[in-house]
Amino acid sequence: MSEERVLRNHWSVVASGTVRIAVVMAFVLVFILQTNGILYPETFAALYGTAVGTSLIVRIIIWKKTLYYFLEDEIIVRKTTIFRSETRIRYERLASVNVERDFVCRLLGATKLSFNLNSSVNAASAEAFIVLKTVEAEKLREEMEPLIFGRPAATEEEEAESLVEVTLPDIILHSFIGMPTPQFGFGLVMLAYSVLSLALGGGISIIAALLFILDFFLPAISSFFRLYGYRITRSGDTVSVSSGFFSTRNDSFLLSKVNFVKIREPLICRLAGKAILEVEVVGTADGKGVPLLCPLKSKAVAMDLFRTLLPEFECSGETLKQPGSALAGISVRISAVIAVSYAALAVAAAYYSDYIIWICVAAAGIAALCTIWAILTYKVREFACDSDIALIVAGSCDRVSNYILLDKIQFADVRAGPLERRFGTARCRLSLLSTAGASTVLSGVFPAEKLEAVSSEVLKRIEDGRYDFRRFQ
C-alpha cells in the first residue's frame, strides 16, 4: 500500500444489522407478550420501537467509531466506543482473504472483505472484516493482494480459467450424494417410510417427512446454492475458489497456508469411482465446511488436481494395511454394540410381543449392518509416513484420506487398549490446526513402533532445521 488509507464500513452494515434485529425482536416480543397475555398494539409498538431504535443508535455509534487503517505492512482496526480496542494484523501473517456478498450486500451494492490469520483462536470467525461499496472493495483487494500473496490480483482472463471444469450436474450430484453416508442413508429411509405410509393409506408420516427434509433435502439444496457456479483458479502460489447463487463467496489463500489435504469418498461415491478434494486452511470455513478444491468428480480428476496443486503433500512412504490382529479389537467393539442392541430388543420384545417379527427383522438388520461396518472398518483404514508427510486413511463407510505435513502436526498421541497392547499395535491421534480451529485425525490400528515414528520424525525435523517456521507464517 503506497500510502496510509483510512476507511470506514459501508452504511449497509448498520442497515443489515438493524434489519436482522428488527426481524428477531418481532418474533421474540410477540412470543413474550403473547405468553404473558399482554399482546396489545401499543405495548408492542413501544417495546419494539425502543428495542430497534436502541439497536440502530448503538450500531450507528459503532459504525462511526470503527476505523480501518491500511498501512504499508499492516491493517489496524481501531474501535473508540466504550469498549476501546485496537487490532493489528500484519499482511504476511494472513492465511486467507474472503470476498462475500450476501443477499443484503448484493441489494445495497456492498461487498464484505474478511481477513483471517493462521491461528486456532478465532479460526471460525475472521480476525477482521470490512464492508465497502463493491467498487471500493475490489480496488482495495487489488491493492492488498500483492502485499498478502506477493503477486498482483488475478486479471479477468486468469480468473476465467477454472482448474477443474465443474458442470451443473456435478454440483447436483455433489449436493445429493456427496454428503456423509449415515446422513444420506437416514434421509432415504425417512423418505421411504413417508412414501410407504402414504401408499399404504395411513397418510403421510409428518415426523418422517420432516426428518427427511431437515436431514437430507435442505442440506442438499443449501449445498447446491452454495456451490453453484463453482470455479477454482490459481495465480502463482495463490488459489482462489468462488461460488454461490444467492450469496457469492470468493476465498483466496496461499498454498503454503494449507494445513492438510483430505480426499473424501462417501460409500456411494466410492462405488461410482468418484471423490471430493478438500483442504484445511484457517479462515475459509465460515461454518460451512472445509473449502473444496474439487467437488464430486471422478477420482482421477481429483487426484490430478491434488498432484498439480499440492505435490508436496504426496506421500512416498510404504502404505500399511491394518494387521489381522486389528480384527480382534473391531470384533470386540462390534460384539459390544450387538450385545447392547439385543438387550434393548429383548426388553422391547417382552413389552411388545405383537411386534416380535419386526423385532427379529431389526435384530437381523443390526447384525448385518455391524458385520458390514466391521469389514469396511478393517479394509478401509491405511497408514503411511515418509520424512515429510503422514497419510492416514480413516473411516468405515466413508473413506477419508488425510495427507498431513509433519511440520503442521502439533502433537501426537499413540494409544493402545488391552487387546492392542497384546499384539504390539496401537492407534494414533494427531492434533492439528484446522479450518475451524483445532481438530484431530485418528488412525486405524497399526504396529505401535510405526505410529511412534510420526512423533520421532516431527522432532527430528525440528532438531535438524528441516522445519522452518518462516515457511508457514
Binding site: 494409544r415 490446526l433 484431530t440
Partner: protein, 163 residues
C-alpha cells in the same frame, strides 16, 4: 514421599495424588448416582421402571468398580519426562496413551489448581498448542510451577530467537 525419577528420566507422581483422584472419583460417582436415582424415581409406575432400574444398577456398579480401581492403576502407569525438545506423557487406565508434545509447538503454559488438588498441594500444567491442549496432571505444586516457568522461559527465548 515426593515425586520420584526413574533411570530413564521419566518421573512418577507423588503417591498423595491417588487421594486426590479418589476424592474426584467419589464426587463423580455421587453425581452419577443422583442422576441414576432420579431416572429410577421418574420411571416409577411406568412400563419401563424395571429395565431402567436394572440398567441404572448395572451401570452404577460398573462405574463404581472402575472408579475404585482406576486411581491405583493410573498412578502406577503415569510417567512424564521433560527435556529440551519435548514433553512426553505416558498415562491411562484401560487405554494407555503416549503423548509427545514438541516444545516448539507450545503457545501457552498454565498452572491449574482446583479445590481438591489444592487440598493435597497438587496442580496440573496445561500445555496449549494450535491443535489443542495436553496436560501434566497431579504434579506437586512446586514442580508444576517450576515446569511452567521453565517452559515459559523456553518459549520466550525461542520467540526472541525468531525475531
Amino acid at each position: 514421599m515426593p515425586e520420584t525419577e526413574n533411570p530413564d528420566g521419566f518421573r512418577m507422581l507423588n503417591p498423595v495424588s491417588r487421594k486426590a483422584m479418589y476424592i474426584g472419583n467419589v464426587i463423580s460417582l455421587a453425581a452419577y448416582l443422583a442422576i441414576a436415582a432420579a431416572a429410577v424415581y421418574f420411571s416409577r409406575g411406568s412400563a419401563w421402571s424395571l429395565p431402567v432400574a436394572i440398567a441404572m444398577a448395572l451401570s452404577s456398579t460398573v462405574l463404581a468398580a472402575y472408579l475404585a480401581v482406576s486411581p491405583s492403576v493410573f498412578y502406577r502407569h503415569y510417567r512424564y519426562r521433560i527435556d529440551d525438545d519435548c514433553i512426553e506423557i505416558r498415562r491411562g487406565v484401560i487405554v494407555r496413551s503416549h503423548i509427545i508434545v514438541p516444545v516448539e509447538r507450545i503457545h501457552q503454559v498454565s498452572v491449574r489448581k482446583g479445590p481438591v488438588l489444592r487440598r493435597y498441594g497438587l496442580a496440573s500444567v496445561t500445555l496449549t498448542t494450535a491443535g489443542g491442549e495436553a496436560s501434566l496432571e497431579y504434579l506437586e505444586e512446586e514442580t508444576a510451577e517450576s515446569v511452567a516457568q521453565r517452559l515459559n522461559e523456553k518459549i520466550i527465548s525461542m520467540l526472541k530467537a525468531r525475531e
